[in-house]
Structures are given as C-alpha cells and as structure tokens.
C-alpha cells in the first residue's frame, strides 16, 4: 500500500498510460481527449451557429464517459491515494520559479499564483486562465489532437503528422516558459 501512496515513478506511469491507450483500442475506440471539446460545443448548442457541430454527439458518449472517469480518478487519487501533496521538484526549478514570483513552488500540486481562488477572482488571474484554455482548445483542434492523440497514440503509430505536431507543442511550450511566463508574473 505504501507504494501506491507514494508519487508514482515515470517507469510505472508511462507503461500504464500505454496500457490505457491499448484498452481504448481493445474496446473498439480510439485514444484522444481533445475531441471531447467539440462534443461539449455540440451539446452546448454550437450546431445552431456552425454546421460542423451538427453531428450527433450521442455517438461520442463513450468518450464523454471516459472523461467523466478521468474526473472520478482525480477525486479518488486526491482523497484517498495522495496523503502528501508536495511535488519533489528539482532545486533549480524551485529557485527559477521564486525568481519570477512563484512562492513555495512544489508545496502543492498547483501554484496559487495561477489556480488560487483569490487569483481566479482577479482580472489578471481570470484572463490568464481563460487565455490558457483558449490556446489549448484552439490549438488542439487546429492540429487535430493533443498530448494523448498526437504525442502518445500518434507517435506510437509512427505518424509523421504527429511528429510535426509534437515538435510544435514543444516550440510553443518553450516560448511560453522561457520568454513569456517570466514577464507575466
């Protein structure tokens, strides 16, 4: 039990992610989360504004059930499997973050500077959250996949398109982390 309660090492988590991907194909579906964002648009009535969203979202129920499972998994892991919520970051990361205005990096899963309730109700905090979401949603649908569809399933199937997309993920991520984040906080 002690092993389960500790943070899981990469060499256990990576194969488990591949196993989850395998199970989705085994059950006759695919492994990709970001298409759910389109399904949520369709449920919200986006079909009235744009023909793309006129598809029958009920056919995507399996994927909605999958993301419902993700949330339940998050709840189970948080309430019963993670007594210690600190993240063992590298010392350099903690120092770098403190220099750009993030206090106590790694003392919880998420920084208060972005996800704290007080931040959420500030104009700047709200704008950062909605902008982050917007870039994620727009970018994944433009590229046709996210970390699950492109980086895990796509690279596993040796897809050239997915390799281009993942290179893009890293170009964007590096620009944000090195050149934009330091000036936002």
């Amino acid at each position: 039990m002690d092993y389960i309660l500790q943070p899981w090492p990469w060499y256990f988590a990576g194969p488990m992610i591949a196993f989850c991907m395998y199970l989705m194909y085994y059950f006759g579906k695919k492994f990709g989360i970001s298409s759910n964002l389109e399904t949520l648009c369709a449920i919200g009535g986006a079909g009235k504004l744009n023909d793309y969203f006129k598809f029958d979202w009920r056919k995507q129920k399996w994927n909605l059930v999958f993301i419902l499972g993700l949330a339940i998994g998050g709840l189970i892991a948080n309430d019963w499997l993670t007594p210690n919520q600190t993240i063992a970051l590298s010392a350099q990361t903690v120092q770098d973050l403190s220099e750009i205005g993030f206090a106590n990096a790694g003392s919880t899963y998420l920084p208060d500077e972005i996800y704290g309730v007080n931040t959420l109700f500030s104009i700047k905090g709200f704008l950062i959250l909605i902008l982050a979401g917007f870039l994620i949603g727009f970018g994944t649908r433009y590229a046709g996949g996210c970390t699950s569809g492109h980086a895990i399933a796509g690279l596993s199937s040796l897809s050239f398109e997915s390799l281009i997309a993942v290179i893009g993920f890293f170009i964007g991520g590096l620009i944000m982390t090195w050149f934009i984040l330091p000036y936002l906080f």
Binding site: L68, G69, A71, F138, T177
Partner: protein, 137 residues
C-alpha cells in the same frame, strides 16, 4: 451499462495522471526548463511501449474484444495545421500547465479555477471551427 468499461479506463487513467504528477503545473514548467527527466520518462516510455502495441495491432495479433482487427486512423495531412496548431497548443499547455486530459482530472480534484480553463478550451475549439476556412492547413 455498455459504457462502463470506458468509465473504468478513465478512472485508471485519471489516477495514473494524478499519482505521476502529470496534472501538476509545476511538472510541466520543469519539463520545459529541461530540469527533470520525469515527464520525458513518462512520455518516452509510454511511446516506446505504444510502438510495440501498435505494431501488434498492424500485424493483427492484438484484436478488439470482439475479435476485430484494430485499424488506427491516420492523422490528417498538412504541415501548417500540425505545426501552427501544435505551437498554439504548446503555448497554452505551458501557460495553464495542463493538456486536455488533466483538465478533467483537476475538476475531480476539486480545483474550481480549472473550470475557467475548460470554458476557454471549449470556446477555443468552437472558434477554430468558425475560422478554419481562413487558416492555412
């Protein structure tokens, strides 16, 4: 009831993403700073094992539970869409510290602020389809 298997895979995946700290904003920052092997180890080992699994899909020795051959649909072609879309996604991944999977895991974790990220992501997906005929693909 037919859907319960997808719920269970989701629960397992959600627990894995939580317990391996993939849902932590800090881990994404650390990855893009190249200051830890953790995230590279997770993605790398998942892909290496994924390649083996996909190989057996193509060979036909791993089938669905109904015994059908598994065909992995190829991704749409286009350098511009994959590269530009990828860059836009990467900017959001590093800013919010989440990709789409962890957004839903964090809802379960009880993080209220993640709902704003989800709202933004749904709006972003919507706006892509509204503007896509004007974008390079």
């Amino acid at each position: 009831m037919k859907q319960i298997k997808f719920l269970l895979v989701g629960v397992l995946f959600g627990i894995v993403l939580s317990k391996s700290e993939v849902i932590s904003w800090y881990r994404i920052f650390e990855m893009f700073k190249f200051q830890s092997f953790h995230m590279y180890g997770i993605i790398g080992s998942a892909v290496v094992i994924g390649i083996v699994i996909m190989y057996f899909f193509k060979k036909g020795s791993l089938k669905t539970y109904k015994g059908e051959t598994i065909i992995v649909k190829p991704k749409e072609k286009g350098i511009a869409k994959n590269l530009i879309g990828g860059i836009i996604f990467g900017l959001g991944w590093a800013l919010g510290g989440v990709c789409p999977g962890p957004i839903f895991v964090l809802i379960g974790k009880g993080v209220v602020a993640i709902l704003i990220v989800l709202l933004g992501a749904v709006l972003g997906a919507f706006l892509y389809h509204v503007t896509k005929h004007k974008l390079p693909h």
